[in-house]
């Protein structure tokens, strides 16, 4: 049972959502946007967050888009990870999304919620990070809508101005046409938070990787990408890439930093072999 009361508002349009947010705030109360609600409800039950009202944005038509449009693929922020997998417009995103939580929870977790959540993994951000120059987000807030390059929108966490929410993400169609892999390693169970997750693509001869679970938040590194794209054996490149990762590798009950580095090296070498075959 959730130990405090709050209001529920379900918006039908972007304008309605932003307006009710501002009205609640102007009355001295705290509103939050609500996607799948899975994080909000679990944290509220434990009184780890407090707010006075939720504004459910997932049924707003723009937040439900899931389609090809012009030379891009559009993913509404209110679309569930299960629907993204079913539509499979971008196999890499489907693969990364298919390892978040379990199937029933994926029927509720939204794309926007996974990127905006406070849990540090944000695994579905990884495919977009690999194409950050070819991906954009549409956000909406008190100042209307803004089109933001993914590079500015997300640097391990979502950067929004006060009162804004994510409406959709768009990525160039070619992102779905290059060789790509997503690998998640967990400590023991198939369904768990990651020891780490790695997404890798090959664009011509260039290798790009993005990581979650290795350090405090998802990251991508030009130095690592250059190392992995160099002419050397898979093992040598994997070793040099992991050597580039700073001292802040996560060291917790799921796995020590040393174990994460070891497993990451093996995983990168295997992924390189597969993607360059």
């Amino acid at each position: 049972m959730i130990p405090f009361s709050f209001e529920y508002h379900r918006a039908d349009s972007l304008e309605e959502a932003a307006l009710v947010y501002q009205q609640i705030q102007a009355s001295g109360q705290k509103p939050i946007y609500y996607g799948g609600g899975t994080e909000i409800l679990t944290m509220a039950r434990l009184a780890q967050i407090h707010f006075d009202a939720v504004i459910d944005i997932k049924q707003i038509p723009q937040c439900q888009r899931l389609e090809r449009a012009d030379d891009a693929i559009v993913f509404g922020a209110g679309v569930s990870l299960d629907r993204i997998g079913q539509a499979n417009l971008w196999p890499l995103l489907s693969q990364a999304g298919a390892r978040v939580a379990d199937h029933s929870v994926r029927c509720k977790i939204t794309l926007g919620g996974n990127l905006a959540g406070t849990l540090p993994y944000r695994e579905v951000a990884l495919p977009f990070m690999l194409f950050s120059s070819d991906a954009h987000g549409l956000v909406f807030g008190p100042g209307g809508s803004r089109d933001v390059p993914f590079k500015e929108l997300f640097n391990g966490q979502l950067n929004l101005r006060p009162g804004e929410f994510l409406v959709e993400l768009r990525v160039a169609q070619f992102a779905a046409e290059v060789p790509a892999l997503s690998v998640k390693k967990t400590r023991l169970d198939w369904v768990d938070y990651p020891l780490f997750t790695v997404a890798m693509v090959r664009v011509n001869s260039e290798i790009r990787v993005a990581f979650s679970g290795v350090t405090g938040c998802p990251f991508i590194s030009d130095a690592i990408n250059r190392t992995l794209s160099a002419a050397a054996s898979w093992d040598d490149r994997a070793q040099s890439a992991v050597a580039h990762i700073s001292d802040s590798v996560v060291d917790d009950l799921h796995g020590s930093a040393k174990y994460r580095r070891f497993l990451l090296t093996r995983t990168l070498a295997d992924m390189l072999a597969k993607i360059e075959e």
Binding site: Y8, G37, K108
Partner: protein
């Protein structure tokens, strides 16, 4: 805009009946199903989205009712285990000894029932992927998998 700001009457579609409830806006669907409507087949386990004991069928998809607000469920079709009557799946659970204490059973039945509806052609891997949403602390999962698989196979032949 649908705003539900204080305890009022709401209509929920549960097991093909329109039922009136008066939850707080912050009540979860799990809480309302059990405390107001008496559908105790939806079990509270972790209330954290992990165990699946609270699973109901929501517009033909399995959904953990601890992860949904009651107000969010307005306008949708909900089926709890009480809405499944003498199905082949329930018989298969008995035939395969797919439960011991039974606490997880309603969650497995609703997840599996949604699978049969949505993917009657599911292969074993898809079945396992769906059933991974639910935890059982008594059986070794083998019996549960065998029960669900037997119904899928019967439908596919």
């Amino acid at each position: 805009m649908f705003s539900y700001t204080t305890r009022q009457s709401l209509i929920l579609q549960v097991n093909q009946d329109a039922l009136t409830v008066t939850p707080r806006p912050s009540d979860t669907l799990l809480y309302t199903l059990r405390q107001e409507l008496g559908f105790t087949g939806a079990k509270p386990g972790c209330e954290n989205g992990d165990c699946g004991a609270c699973t109901v069928i929501f517009d033909n998809l399995p959904l953990k009712s601890c992860l949904m607000l009651t107000a969010e469920a307005v306008g949708h079709e909900i089926t709890t285990v009480e809405g499944l009557h003498h199905t082949a799946l329930q018989d298969a659970f008995m035939d395969h000894w797919a439960f011991q204490c039974g606490y997880c059973t309603s969650g497995f039945l609703t997840t599996a029932h949604a699978l049969l509806t949505r993917h009657p052609d599911a292969d074993r891997q898809t079945m396992v992927e769906w059933l991974r949403s639910n935890l059982c602390r008594c059986t070794g999962y083998q019996e549960i998998g065998d029960a669900v698989w037997s119904v899928l196979q019967a439908r596919q032949t």
